[in-house]
Symmetry: C2
Subunit: 755 residues, 2 copies
């Protein structure tokens, strides 16, 4: 914390302003007086979340498999709705009819040089009572794999990301007409069949290597938390970087009578049949490959020599699904606001799972329920939120963020008008508070995390995170952690229900959850259940409590702040960092390509190829021309100036109080516009080639899936060597930042006039 | 080659001199005229080495196990002597009586929680005829392990280097009273029992993990070149960084009547019993460990969860050796010099092996024999070396450089007077020419490697190395490879027979050998044999020919150069690089220690410890004070100036010829002193704590074994935090460089007066 204000100003080039007269413990957005009242209610709130209730709720919600369309999924939705009602909330179920394929036929067999049929079956364990509920379990598969029946030579492609295919090229190996086998990891799973199909593969297998989450990492279930030999990771392989949600209704809610694409028209279904398998099933296939030995970085933990292929192993893969629509059930609960009822503070966690899902998602959902119960109790004791609070329990997150996306698409206009912010959580475990989200909320969530106690160290979650960054960070990250007022939050990519709020509508969003200490290898398997969670994760639910305290405190502050707690200095500084990264990326691409072209000309690759294990030269590439980053620099400078002015006005406005009768109306007007600030960073036409994604600062990477690309238009044009698009994308992002700066500048001016 | 001279001068701060009138193809040390004659003989020479002869010699020499003291070791020595004689050389065997323990009892058994006795037996293979010669094979063991019989809990220590014990400390795990099990790799093997004993362990097992040279790296023998489950790496564990050679006769030759220490007095025998085992034998032991899961970097390729222990696995280890003296047989062959017969050019490769040793060392020895045969043939055709050429085939290299060390110690005074240089080789394989050695010979060996053809690419070995550096090097290394006149050679640590020449007597030395393409896991096992080599390595012996061409060309040039081909600019520039490294090391230690102390004070380690898997804070350390590097800077500057002057005088002296009758005498005087130049870098009192090592620029690391430490007095004082010793060691190294500079300056002056 030393030198924090100075350091922040130094890095943003901001103006020096007088020290805040606000008490340092006043939550952001409150005056000294209103902050005291807020803190009294918060103190009552944080005492309420109850570990025993979370445990019982988890036992109940994970008692049977509850994927979209299953009986227990519906039963859970109704139970959750009833819980909200019992807490004093106005709750109902909102249903959508979505395309959710479920498996009818699954076959993987090695047909030569020997014959071996994969079991495709996770083993029920006597010690783990829910693991044997086979009748209700979804068999291991990936949703939105196209149907297919192919027999082809096998090629091992490491994680199956674009760089892996460059390595294959260097060894002269093509996947054209082949079935690829990729390890889980290195990207979101849906990238693997997408990239494989782009390279001409006809089928895709994805397996969990024991090096990553099996025996290499620890004892396997049920002796330990890691993945046993038959464990399989289910999941979605829809092309979510194109659009998430129901593949048949992009951009609109999948209501009963919505206009739908045909399955054949849906862009997000894979081009090639795809199945996930266990490492027990993968080992015979990988062992049957020949060809060169793969590089050390590609090798997994099986006791075999990993080779590229192609073949001689030939594999027969068959996938066939039931492509009928299924009904999903979102639970939407409201606590009405008083004076600002049409400003919505939204909180959510999904409730559907691939199987029993005790960890994913119930560990997060039970915390959300405890928040709701506690807020209901405060409400009963007389506490009133100014703004309307909406708590959601989404269905259909697992197959593709279906429940949240369809709800957001249905209510997009209302959300654009009313939504203050969306706070998401998903799985939760022991360790560190992880936060990603909109940088306009970075300062706000830093304030919240300073007030949440870490259960293991009894220090604040903020302090523990700061010390962890000092322990593991680079020199720059350590300096930042020690000197900057706020810890940095990462930007949001995709992978949970914040996506449609942030990426499609431009609602400022945060994703929160604890983790980092518990290892596990049961993700999306039948073993993610109550037995596993209560033996190997947050078994005393103290981190469930901490999550409820974090989420609830954030919601309370957003709901009752005098002035919405956005801070634009953090956004401006972060944007500046992105611009510097993009310039460095351009320069490093220029260096790399120039160097590689020179090496090709010098004969480096020919001279260093072992004739017994030849490696070929890559193709020459065109280095990037210089780009004009000036519009971005200028836009960031103007946003920085406006943000500093806003912060100065903020301190002055909330540090004083007056009886000016116009004060309330001015603040209301400012809040109405603050609520729109994140929307200014979006573009109605969306990203190039994927118009559903409208935020110009954040998007999941087209070739990473979950992983974020910041300033994605510019960054992906650079990464994909589309040099002709770069200046245009720079202009679009600069336009958004300029709009934001103009808006914030106007807010600063209005706020500074407040008496 | 672009800008080469300019770049060299820029980096050494040298004076600009006129372009050399010497033809660029004139070998260093020759005039244009004498160089032409030299090149004509070299052209004849390089055509002579013969692949079929190398193959037959390998078959003969590796036909039976031939370790020190074995019948076939003696038979080989006699055969090699007779070969030399048949080539026209004067050859004899010089014998020494050395302590070489051979196994009498070996036992490794898991005694709890279950009982499992290790086989300690490599499997004979029907396809591989020599693998079944059990009666003559040395059983798997490590030489110079002390006798012992211990039963204790087991602890896994990764590679068993000092940093690994810091990691153990951080997990609260002590090896006091335990038997450690370490993977091969990460250091020379003898470091493992030494460091284990320093930490209180009572026994040490070393195993070959399949991730490193077993199935993870490729198919195992006999299907491929890698280590099969029962394969064991034998080796020496004597404390060679203290002194190599016979443990009973440090510093003196182990002649029959030499004064000997008792075994109990010998410093270099391990303090704890030690055995090497296979991964088949290691797996049950490692599987029986509990305790925390080890970090990802420690994990090997066995299909188990690697854990630290201690225990519950308890292991019983028994080692007992026959400690009798054995006779070793060095073969020493001479071609007499003419005008400079008392200047000796020495070349060597060992002949003893752990078992059959086709790769190690016969692949290098057969090349040396072909060199000798070819030189003998030139001699018969009228070629005469000015200087005496000595070719050695050393015995007892494997247990601890015994044959070379005892010979050098016996002849130390003569060598100090007569030795020009020593050129070593050992194993040889396909790929790149590897060169390490004295930087005064860097320019010379660059010249040789420019004239050797790489068999696979048909470009020069130099060019292939340059392109390989461009492919894999850092930005700085690439620039260096492209712009510097000479490719850099690494400094020599230990691990083969150059050590006593360079480190003890100060004879300029080079170690040469091809490699980098053939993978293998048969090192020091019964599978290193003719079958393996002819299936998986340089099976057409084209790299054997290339090695003979390299070694023989170097010897011919050293033997007939007008002026010995030392160049001190490379030495000066390299020394300057070392000084900059040492300063950077001091600064980075200061940063690291200060940062770590600050983190300890901030509570970083306490706050980031998972209570279910606790990690403890390291101890505070004292950061280094500033040191006075000025003496080193000054000494390097004066050496640089002298070296530049010498190079200028060299070009002028050899670029002209005259009939001045005093010329010959002056050159003779200069050569006499040039021959001493490397000796000026030594100190009679040796390194602190290990006086046998006298070179002040190069030594094997006390805690790395083979790995070199340059300017070892200073570097190891820094690495071991012995701050009080640093300035003193700086002074000693500066003194040596100053002596060198003075000597070179005088030589430059004398040479510049040459008419």
């Amino acid at each position: 914390m030393r030198l924090a204000v100075l350091s922040l100003l130094a890095s943003t080039g901001g103006l020096v302003f007088a020290p805040a007269p606000l008490d340092s413990t006043t939550p952001r957005g409150f005056t000294t007086e209103s902050g005291k009242v807020e803190r009294e209610w918060e103190a009552k709130f944080v005492a309420l979340p109850d570990a025993a209730r979370m445990r019982e709720a988890m036992r109940r919600l994970s008692a049977r498999p509850h994927h979209v369309g299953s009986p227990y999924d519906k039963a859970n939705a109704e139970w959750i709705r009833d819980q909200f009602r019992s807490y004093g909330w106005n709750a109902q179920i909102e249903s959508f009819d979505v395309l959710f394929p479920t498996p009818k036929e699954r076959l993987v067999e090695l047909v030569s040089p020997t014959v071996h049929k994969a079991s495709l079956q996770e083993t029920a364990l006597a010690i783990d009572p829910t693991s044997g509920q086979r009748a209700e379990q979804l068999p291991s598969y990936v949703a939105y794999s196209t149907d297919g029946d192919v027999t082809a030579p096998l090629v091992f492609v490491n994680y199956g990301v674009p760089a892996d295919y460059e390595e294959l090229d260097r060894h002269g190996i093509s996947v054209k007409g082949a079935i690829v086998i990729a390890k889980y990891g290195g990207s979101w799973r849906g990238i693997k069949p997408k990239v494989a199909a782009e390279h001409g593969a006809v089928g895709c297998l994805i397996y969990s290597d024991p090096r990553d989450d099996g025996y290499a990492a620890g004892d396997v279930f049920p002796n330990g938390p890691m993945r046993p030999p038959q464990g399989v990771q289910r999941g979605s392989v829809a092309d979510m970087p194109t659009y998430p949600g129901d593949p048949l209704t992009p951009g609109v809610g999948a209501t009963r009578n919505a206009k739908r694409l045909t399955v054949a028209q849906a862009q997000t279904i894979t081009k090639i049949p795809t199945l996930p398998i266990s490492y027990a099933d993968a080992q015979p296939l990988l062992s049957a490959l020949r060809g060169p030995v793969v590089p050390a970085g590609w090798r997994g933990g099986l006791p075999i020599t990993y080779r590229f292929g192609p073949g001689p192993a030939r594999v027969h893969l068959r996938v066939k699904s039931d492509w009928s629509l299924k009904t999903l059930n979102d639970v939407i609960a409201r606590l009405p606001g008083t004076t600002e009822a049409d400003q919505w503070v939204i909180r959510g966690n999904h409730h559907d799972a691939w199987v029993n899902g005790a960890q994913d998602p119930i560990s997060g959902l039970v915390a959300e329920l405890e928040e709701a119960r506690a807020l209901g109790k405060l409400y009963a004791e007389g506490w009133r939120p100014k703004r309307t609070i909406i708590y959601a329990a989404w269905d259909g997150e697992e197959p593709g963020l279906l429940g949240s996306t369809e709800w957001v698409e249905t209510h997009a206009d209302e959300l654009a008008q009313h939504a203050v912010a969306y706070i998401n959580s998903d799985t939760n475990a022991r360790g560190y508070l992880g936060v990603e989200g909109s940088h306009s909320l970075e300062k706000f969530i830093n304030g919240v995390s300073r007030d949440v106690e870490d259960p293991e160290t009894k220090r604040s979650a903020w302090k523990r995170n700061q010390l962890a960054t000092i322990r593991t960070g680079t020199r720059e990250a350590r300096k930042d952690a020690r000197d900057r007022e706020d810890l940095r939050i990462d930007a949001l990519g995709s992978g949970s229900d914040y996506s449609s709020f942030l990426d499609h509508v431009g609602v400022a969003a945060l994703n929160i959850g604890f983790g980092g200490e518990d290892r596990g290898g049961i993700y999306h398997s039948i073993y993610d259940d109550f037995y596993w969670f209560t033996h190997f994760s947050d078994s005393s639910y103290v981190y469930g409590k901490a999550l409820a305290q974090t989420g609830g405190t954030a919601v309370m502050r957003l709901a009752n702040a005098d002035l919405l707690p956005f801070a634009f200095t953090n956004l401006a500084e972060t944007s500046n960092g992105y611009v510097q990264q993009l310039k460095a990326l351009r320069d490093s691409l220029a260096d790399q390509i120039t160097e590689r072209n020179m090496s090709i000309d010098e004969g480096v690759f020919v001279a260093t190829s072992d004739p017994r294990d030849p490696v070929f030269a890559p193709a020459r590439q065109q280095p990037p021309p210089p780009f004009d980053f000036a519009p971005l620099d200028k836009a960031v400078a103007s946003l920085t100036q406006a943000a500093d002015a806003y912060d100065k006005a903020y301190v002055s406005a909330l540090g004083t109080s007056s009886a000016d009768p116009s004060r309330e109306a001015t603040i209301r007007s400012i809040n109405q516009r603050l609520l729109q600030a994140e929307r200014a960073l979006t573009s109605a036409e969306g990203l190039a080639g994927r118009p559903w994604y409208r935020h110009l600062l954040y998007a999941p990477g087209y070739y990473t899936g979950y992983g974020v690309k910041t300033m994605p238009g510019v960054r992906e044009a650079l990464e994909q060597h589309q040099w002709k698009d770069v200046d245009r994308e720079i202009g679009r992002v600069a336009g958004a930042l300029t709009r934001e700066g103009t808006m914030v500048g106007q807010l600063a001016e209005d706020l500074s006039r407040l008496k």
